[in-house]
Structure formats: C-alpha cells, structure tokens
C-alpha cells in the first residue's frame, strides 16, 4: 500500500481534478505542489483543506503577504520543514523581501525565547491583560 504516493493530474479522478483545476485557476499557476498531490489520496480531505486554505488565506483585514508571514511563523515554530520551504517560496512570490524575511525570523526567534522565559519564571498574567 502506498498511503502517501503523489497523485499527478493525469492519474487523478474527477473529484481530485476539480480541486486541482481550482488551485491552478485561483493561484494563476500551472504547478500543483506535492502537498496537494499527497492529500489527493484522500479526496475529502483534499477538498476540505483546499476550501479552508482558500477562504483563510484570501486578503481581508490582513493582506496576503502578512498571512504568509504568519504561516511561516507557525511552521518555523513547529519545525515543519516542508511548510517552511513551500511557504517561504510562496511569500517571496508575493513580494517578501530579504529584509522582511530577516525581520520575520528575528521576531519568531525572539518570541520562542521569551515564551520560555515567561513559562520558566511562572509569570502570572497582569490584571490588566485578563479578558472578561
């Protein structure tokens, strides 16, 4: 059994092709990356995930590039190498400059450090930061 084989367009069923077509049209590209080709083993998850990504990553109160930066921040924190590689490329294609990338890394590193200092020193939440 190959649970994670990559499914190319020409080997895909109709349901998967419909998602691929939407990815290609939405992203104005002719390339389906490996993430989607792997998810295509499970058409239901492929479709649900793509629909969610499309809805979530669309420009809104935050622009598309800012959303990519946030995505990278998460991926670096969880150490997902595929996600770091693919979304760094994606952010570059959306206009991320080297300077932005460097500042992003600096904030992500710093946040991971201060997160642990806050935990290790068992800092209680200030009254004024409490919700409700």
């Amino acid at each position: 059994m190959a649970l994670q084989r990559l499914i190319d367009y020409e080997d895909a069923g109709l349901e998967v092709r419909a998602v691929y077509d939407d990815i290609l049209a939405t992203r104005k590209t002719d390339y389906i990356n490996n993430f989607w080709k792997a998810l295509a083993n499970d058409p239901a998850t492929l479709k649900r995930t793509w629909e969610s990504v499309k809805q979530v990553m669309v420009p809104g109160a935050l622009d598309a590039l800012t959303k990519e930066l946030i995505y990278i921040a998460v991926s670096v924190t969880t150490q997902c190498s595929y996600c770091i590689a693919s979304h760094t490329a994606s952010a570059e294609s959306k206009g991320m400059t080297g300077e932005m990338f460097h500042e992003l890394m600096a904030v992500v590193g710093m946040a991971n450090e201060t997160n642990r200092l806050a935990a290790g020193y068992q800092v209680e939440i200030d009254e004024r930061f409490k919700t409700a």
Copy 2:
C-alpha cells in the same frame, strides 16, 4: 528562596531601574508588566532580553503591528498563556482590530493543521522549493 518574585521599581537596584526607565520611556507608559518584573531577578537577562526585544520589535521592513501579530502566532502555537494575553493587549493598543485578530487566529489554526498533514503524509519538498 523566591526565584520568581515580582520586583517593583522601588525595590529594584540601579541596574534594574535603568532598564525599567528605558522600558517606560520607549513605550511611553507608566506601567511595567509582570514579565519584566520577574526577569528582574536576573539583571543580566533582564537587560539582554530588553535590548533584544527593543531592537527586534522596532518598525523596519515590517511595521510594529505586523511584528505583534507574528509574536502572537508563535505564542498561540506554543500555548504560552502569559504571552498570548500580554501581546494580544499590546497588539490592540497598536491598532489591531477585531477583524485582524480573527483572521490571525484563522491562519494560525490552519497552519498548525496543514503542518501536521504535511508531516503525516511524509510530503517531500518539491525541487523548486529547495534552497541552494
């Protein structure tokens, strides 16, 4: 021994007071939050951390609010409740609207989900995403 007691301005030594003064001046506030009061148990770490935060969080290629959003993305991913509470408050004071917050949460949740799908399906990095 109380390794993590909160040190107020009036109980602080000169070295700590100098950092507190700089925090108050830089942030144009009269409030030192608990994180710094806890770090003050170790003046060297207090000073080094504050200098780094000041340098890293300053507006550059990324504006101050974007940096706060990135900070929150990390803190939510690592589940640091102090950091989530304090930086959500901080982001609001820098202009984060409810809509921005909601979109931030949606991207952070989505990224944490797709990070695991990429790992679980053992997706290999596409040639075109490889560095070098």
Copy 3:
C-alpha cells in the same frame, strides 16, 4: 566517538542480544529496526524502553491497532519523522487501511487547529468539564 552508531546483532553484547531476542520473538519477525539498534548503545535504556513499550502497546482495553494510531497522532504532532515512518508501517502491518489512515490524519490536523483556536481565544474551561 560514535554515540549513535547502529549496533547489529552480531556485534552486540549479551545484554543487548537478550533484548533483541525478545523483540524478535514478541513481534514474530526477523528484523530489528534502527531505533533499537541505536538505543543499544545504552543497554540500560534499551532494556527499560523495550520493557515499557512491550507493556504499554500490548492489547488491553484498547486494541493493538488503536494504540498504533494514537502513537502516530503523537508523532505527527511533534513532527518526529522517524516515528511517523516506522509506526505508519507498523500500523499497516496490523491492519490499518488507507481509509483509516486518512481519517486519522484528518483528526490529527483538526485537533492541532482547534487546540490553537482554544488557546488564542483564551477560552476558559466550562464548569461542567472541570475535574474534582
């Protein structure tokens, strides 16, 4: 020094061989995988870990396959690529179908997403969910 060299059966001391023999007999296989060959550098940890794994993974109130699925859920969440690869293979040998794998991935992804939404929105635990 090679702290992590893989120790084959023929190069192993008596203590390590005794564990290898038990692995082979318990799993009805003729293959020792790299994880155990690496742990064999420290016979005490090899023995303790194997004894624990044997005790914990045995069918009980939960069957052996369900335990493998839980093991994969953890490994995908922490992004341990060795563990994902080895336990996915192990789960398949215990009867995991493609459909089961896909549903497992969907739940793991979803849980990682909603975990962060709960943290980011600083949701308080409902009275009825509190223990004691």
Copy 4:
C-alpha cells in the same frame, strides 16, 4: 474591545444561531460549550470550524470514540488544557472507560518519550519504512 467574550444564544446573530442550532441538533444536547461561544466572535471561523469538525469527527472507518482518543492524544501532546478537559468529558460520554483512558495516557506518554529518543540518537529511517 473584548475579542474573546463568550456569546450566548440570546445575544447571537442569525448566522451564529444557525451554527448553534446545528451543534445542538447534531450532538443531541442543550449545551453549547465555551469554545463555540468564543469562536462566535468570528462567525466565518465558527461556521467553517464547525463544518470541518462535524465532517471529520463523524464515524467512518474509525468509530467516534477512537476519534476522540486521537483528539485527546494531540491535545495532551500540545498541552492544551481546554481541549484536554472538554474532550476527556466528551470521550467519557461516548463510552471511554477508566481503563481505556489509562491506556491512552500510557501510549501518549510513551510516544512522547520515544519520539525524543529517536531524535536525540539521530536515528535514520530504515530503508523498508521509506515511502515510494
């Protein structure tokens, strides 16, 4: 601004009420838990998340209880206290016995341990576990 206030049914708009109604009907309960009341601050995320949870957690190749166990495994690994409390309650309502819970915890703890042993010993993936 209160980004994370809990929104009760009577204070909710039509879009949120429609989701609440579906939660109540699907779960055959008269209780909306805090997670959904917090997400209701962002009706789009509430709706998208609920639709996904409903689709993902439905019995399929894996039964509903097994899915809850997997959900708990993730939540314990990421240390999400809200999710641990709510899904442990949920699993109990679906038939999780004390024995099942104890075995679940034992596997989750063990997997988190062996995940780190595999990483620390830099164990290479066995040829036979490689995909494709």
Copy 5:
C-alpha cells in the same frame, strides 16, 4: 467517573501503597505529591513510571542536580506548568541556587530561539557534524 481524582495513602490499595512507600523511603520525605496521587488511578502506570523515574534520575555520570536542570529545560520548552513548578522546587531542594536557575533559564530561552533560526534559515547540517 473521576479519572483524575487524587488518591491519598489511606484510600489506596496495597499495590499503590507499595509504590508510595518506596517513594517516601527513596526521597526521605513524608510527602507524596499530586502527580503520583493522580497516576495512582492506574496502578500499572504508577509503578512503571516510578520505577523508570527512580532508575533515570539516580546520580550516575550526571549528578542528581544536573538531571533536575535538564528536566526543567524540557518542561519549560513544552510549557508544562505542573512540571515546572514541581521540579523547580525539587531542584532547589537539591542545591540549585538562584544564579544557577537564572543561567538555566537563559540557556533554555536562547536554545529555543536559535532552534527556530536554524529551522527558518533551513540550515543544512555541516559534514563534520554528521554521524556515521
């Protein structure tokens, strides 16, 4: 059902009491902390975990205090508040000074930061650091 109630000595069965007695004798204390009282709901896990902790935490090539520091480093990184509180207390009782604690926190914070810089910059392992 109360899966996580704390089981006191006088309410415990013989199997649990035997472990409690060993904890009290080994640690030369008259106090059983909540972690063990919770694990006592599952005597098999209580016994297995205690035996492992006893074996692993005993002074060897690393002394008992160094092992506590390592334990705290892990707990701060995973943000386990119970473990941070209990092992900080334990380390103090074994001689951890304030200065040691502060240096520990500084290293843990720094490591969490540089871990992410290494991941975000996709740094390849130097030939000379490769095993085998």
Copy 6:
C-alpha cells in the same frame, strides 16, 4: 533570491567578518559552522545572536558542558535536527562522555513522557510548589 545561502568569510562584508573573527577567536577554532554562515545574510541578527550566545553560554554558576547538555535537551524536545547534530558535536568536544549522553537522553525522554502524564491527568499544582 537566496535568503538562506551560506556566506563564506571571503564573501562577507566587514560587519560579518568582525563577528566571524570573534567566533574564531572565542572558540579557538578555524571553522565557522553553517548556522552562522546562514545568519550572516542578516548582519544585525548575526551580531545580536552571537553576542547573546557568547554571554549566555560562558561558564558561570553552571559550567560550559552543563550548558551544552541543557541546550541539547531543548533541541531534542523541539526536534531541531541541525541543533541536535551541532551541539552534540560541541558537547563531545567539551568532554561529554558516552555515558553522559545516554543519561541525558534518558532524562529528556522521561521528562517528555511525564510532562504529558501531568497534563493528561490534569494534575493541579501542590500548594507547596506554588510561588509567592
């Protein structure tokens, strides 16, 4: 754009060379490892990170080897493969024996396991472990 290319000494600007020189002098080596060569893409982060590492990792109340062990404990917990490889090599050069490494791994694995047991059983912090 190559955000993460490795910058060799002869291709570096004056600011980067000054840091490289300090690394070489401080570590009494003639080798700059890839981590610094990647950070050199952002001279400000290179300089800030090196200054912090130099300050934090210097022998103090904890000796240099103990600090390396703590660094490895974090890196194994977050599954940072670059950091595990480079700091294991570094620890060996500072005198870490095989026995020390094995005990380190045993504690790190155990701590990751008991962290999850504490979370899963929702153990409340004992009064006596509470700060302040």
